[in-house]
């Protein structure tokens, strides 16, 4: 008989001895080479962490592969980062170079440390989610292929840059607070299946699910109507009533790109990502237009930001009007907020650049 409610493995049993010994005693760190962190303890002990890119979606083979490496160089310990990178923790400095050699040989990609573009935080996409408007893994792969030199440290960036991808506006991740976020969006309103709606959905719940009050009952059919002008295609009603409402539209679905968000409190506090590009159509397998757009956004920032200046900090300094000019992006009606706090985003000062 299986036990319940015992919780995850106790992390204290998952720690390499050097970490156990120096837990809470680390005093400083540096980055001896790209992709490698060296932390020093007040006891004088040192640990090296070699960070390696992961596709996040991995196979059992991959898990066994990295376990083999960790057994060989890291006393059988390994960790993942909050952005889904892998970290090999080296207690014995002599094993550092051999580890790196082995990783190089086996084509693991070392990087993501310090001033770099680290791994993308992304979501399920067509791999597994019923709400997916696009494929998050595919976009991530295409974009990161293009960003590899910024991950490995071959090329440098003014400050850390965090990219996130979400396959729908639920934004499972931190898209709403990322330097660059790619978010799947719909552009057509849900289509109504009266029969399914009548059969499977509670009208009051369906109506209440709409943030803009766009849904009104059509009692004679035990169904609803959607007022087109009020619908902003969020898909929330579809989540509540999948049997009666269908919003997927391969022709018109696609992605939007957002910039300037962050979560750390350093200098300015956490900030929302804001709309840069309202729509790019889905172009599997490699989303060329999206990849090029991200490349443009990244390169303009790199060329113009001051050292240490994160994406949003840079835009705040130069102003959005200059951002749109420098990135050569059109500013449209879509950029102008019209949701609950819209008026707080309007520019209530004459201060602007012409």
């Amino acid at each position: 008989m299986a036990k319940n409610d015992f919780g995850p493995p106790d992390f204290r049993e998952m720690l390499p001895p050097v970490i156990k010994k120096n837990y809470g005693k680390w005093v400083s760190h540096d980055i001896p080479r790209p992709g490698v962190l060296k932390h020093t303890s007040s006891t004088g002990d040192v640990i090296h962490s070699v960070r390696v890119a992961s596709p996040r979606l991995v196979s059992s083979d991959w898990i066994r592969d990295i376990s083999d490496i960790a057994d060989k160089f890291c006393e059988g310990f390994v960790r993942f980062t909050t952005r889904n990178n892998l970290e090999f923790l080296v207690s014995d400095e002599k094993k550092l170079q051999p580890l790196i050699d082995e990783l190089d040989k086996k084509d693991y990609m070392i990087g993501g440390v310090g001033l770099s573009i680290s791994n993308v935080v992304h979501t399920q996409g067509w791999i597994h989610c019923k709400s997916a408007v696009t494929d998050a893994s595919g976009i991530t792969k295409a974009v990161m292929d293009d960003m590899v030199d910024y991950f490995t440290g071959k090329k440098s960036v003014p400050a850390r840059l965090r990219i996130a991808v979400a396959c729908c506006v639920n934004m499972c991740g931190a898209c709403h607070c990322s330097d660059i976020a790619i978010v799947g969006i719909h552009r057509t309103i849900p289509r109504i299946n009266d029969e399914g709606l009548a059969r499977a959905c509670e009208l009051p719940n369906v109506i209440a699910s709409c943030p803009t009050g766009a849904i009104r009952p059509r009692p004679k059919d035990k169904s609803v109507d959607i007022i087109a002008e009020k619908c902003m295609m969020c898909g929330n009603c579809v989540v509540v009533c999948p049997a009666g409402l269908q919003i997927m539209d391969p022709e018109n679905d696609g992605v939007s790109i957002w910039v300037g968000g962050k979560v750390s409190n350093a200098k300015g506090g956490p900030a929302f990502s804001r709309l840069a590009i309202p729509y790019i159509k889905n172009e599997p397998p490699r989303w060329d237009t999206v990849t090029a757009a991200v490349n443009n956004l990244v390169e303009v920032w790199i060329a113009n930001a001051r050292p240490g200046e994160r994406y949003g900090e840079w835009i705040t300094r130069i102003g959005w009007e200059k951002f749109f000019k420098m990135t050569n992006l059109p500013f449209t009606d879509k950029h102008v907020d019209d949701f609950t706090h819209a008026t707080t985003t309007f520019r209530s000062t004459i201060q602007c650049k012409f």
Binding site: V169, M171, H176, V183, I185, R187, T188, P211, T212, A228, E229, C231, M232, M233, C234, E251, N252, S256, W258, G260, G261, F272, S273, R274, L275, A276, P278, R317, I318, G319, W320, E321, F323, F324, F331, T332, D333, K334, H335, V336, D337, D338, F339, A342, T343, T345, F346, R347, S348, T349, I350, Q351, C352, K353, F354
Partner: protein, 394 residues
């Protein structure tokens, strides 16, 4: 008569600041309604409650507004302020007067009203404080004979107001007084015959210092600005710096867009004109050394208003830069499109800012034929709730 004693109000004749109580008493010496006001006010001070109420609608021939009807709720006790309507008289632009005009005004008002005034009301009008229904028409008739016309009240274009501008200010980028004058003349009907669901206010300031407080309290604010570069006279800069002026902390570091640079060695101040956001601070701080640019016009802000009902709004950018040269045709066309859209779509007691909030700024821009610009927003939207039109998709 005991009632005539005003021990509480008398306290407000003490102290150095000029006393409104003294003024009421001066008028009361000659005028019964002023005396009535004094007495009723004393009662309010004692009871901590106002004693005014609305009554029937009052007005004068040919005008739908300009008079605010007011009735005492203690008419038996204070019969002289039983009816005590105010007349809103439109002020000359910039609040300049000849003493002759002021005296003519006082003569009429002594004849028909309380002999009390607000110089001026918060919107800008001369407020003639208190007269009877019967006196309204003759009063306004005689005012018109000495050249004073009514201002606005109700659902109309309210009397326009402005800063002193080019009449006495070196910072004026536009002729604020002439703009007000011209618009006031052109929109007499809109001012005098309320046809809208709520008030609409225009105020004009000659520069971003906004001495008319236009951005906070006008639905459409016109604020002078330049679009080339501030002009720096480095001889004067050096003079100030050599005199011990802390240019770094008072000017350079206070520039909101980091557009200023001071070379400590050369003792030279330079500006990156494309980065300047025209805030005025450096111009204000060093008036002899820094002047506004030469290519002048205005920024228009839309939506400013006080609290009711959706909360206060500070006007936001509608047009980053517009030339404001007489006869202000472009501005007038825009104003008319704005009020047309507002009149068509606005609900009762809904200001333009609230209507835009309800229907969407982009939709409003579209309706009046303006392109969305990044200058209109502090930042683009952060929520993914984007509306797409049928014609934009396949």
């Amino acid at each position: 008569m005991d009632d005539a004693k005003t021990p509480l109000l008398d306290e407000l004749e003490k102290g150095d600041w000029p006393s409104f109580v003294t003024e009421i008493k001066r008028a009361a010496k000659k005028n019964k309604s002023a005396q009535g006001l004094l007495e009723q006010l004393e009662t309010s001070y004692r009871e901590k409650i106002g004693h005014w109420k609305h009554g029937g609608i009052v007005g004068v021939k040919g005008y739908g507004g300009g008079v605010v009807g007011r009735y005492s709720d203690l008419p038996d006790k204070y019969p002289d302020v039983k009816e005590f309507h105010t007349v809103r008289v439109c002020q000359p632009a910039g609040f300049f007067y000849t003493t002759k005009k002021l005296r003519q005004l006082a003569d009429v008002w002594d004849k028909y009203g309380s002999g009390l005034y607000n110089m001026h009301g918060s919107t800008g009008d001369i407020i003639l404080l208190g007269t009877t229904t019967a006196n309204l028409q003759p009063c306004v008739d005689e005012l018109s004979e000495v050249g004073f016309d009514l201002g606005g009240s109700g659902g109309c274009l309210r009397s326009l107001a402005c800063c002193v501008g080019q009449a006495r200010c070196e910072k004026a980028c536009i002729d604020s007084m002439d703009i007000i004058r011209d618009l006031t003349q052109k929109y007499q009907a809109e001012i005098h015959r309320p046809a809208w669901a709520y008030k609409f206010k225009i105020k004009v300031s000659g520069c971003p210092n906004d001495c008319a407080a236009a951005s906070a309290r006008s639905d459409l604010a016109v604020i002078g600005v330049w679009r080339d570069s501030i002009r720096i006279d480095n001889k004067e800069v050096r003079k100030m710096v050599d005199g011990g002026y802390d240019i770094i902390n008072r000017v350079v570091r206070k520039c909101p867009s980091e557009a200023l640079n001071y070379d400590l060695v050369k003792k030279e101040l330079t500006v990156s004109a494309e980065d300047c956001v025209h805030c005025m601070n450096c111009v204000n701080m060093m008036p002899d050394a820094i002047a506004i640019g030469r290519e002048r016009g205005a920024t228009l802000l839309i939506g400013g208003k006080a609290t009711v009902v959706k909360g206060s709004m500070i006007g936001w950018i509608l047009v980053p830069f517009i030339k404001m040269e007489a006869p202000y045709t472009e501005f007038k066309e825009l104003f008319e499109k704005i009020t047309e859209w507002w009149a068509e779509n606005g609900k009762n007691r809904e200001r333009i800012g609230e209507l835009i909030d309800r229907l969407g700024y982009a939709n409003f821009l579209d309706a009046i034929g303006l392109k969305p610009l990044p200058q209109m927003v502090r930042a683009p939207r952060s929520n993914p709730y984007i509306f797409w039109k049928k014609e934009e998709v396949n």
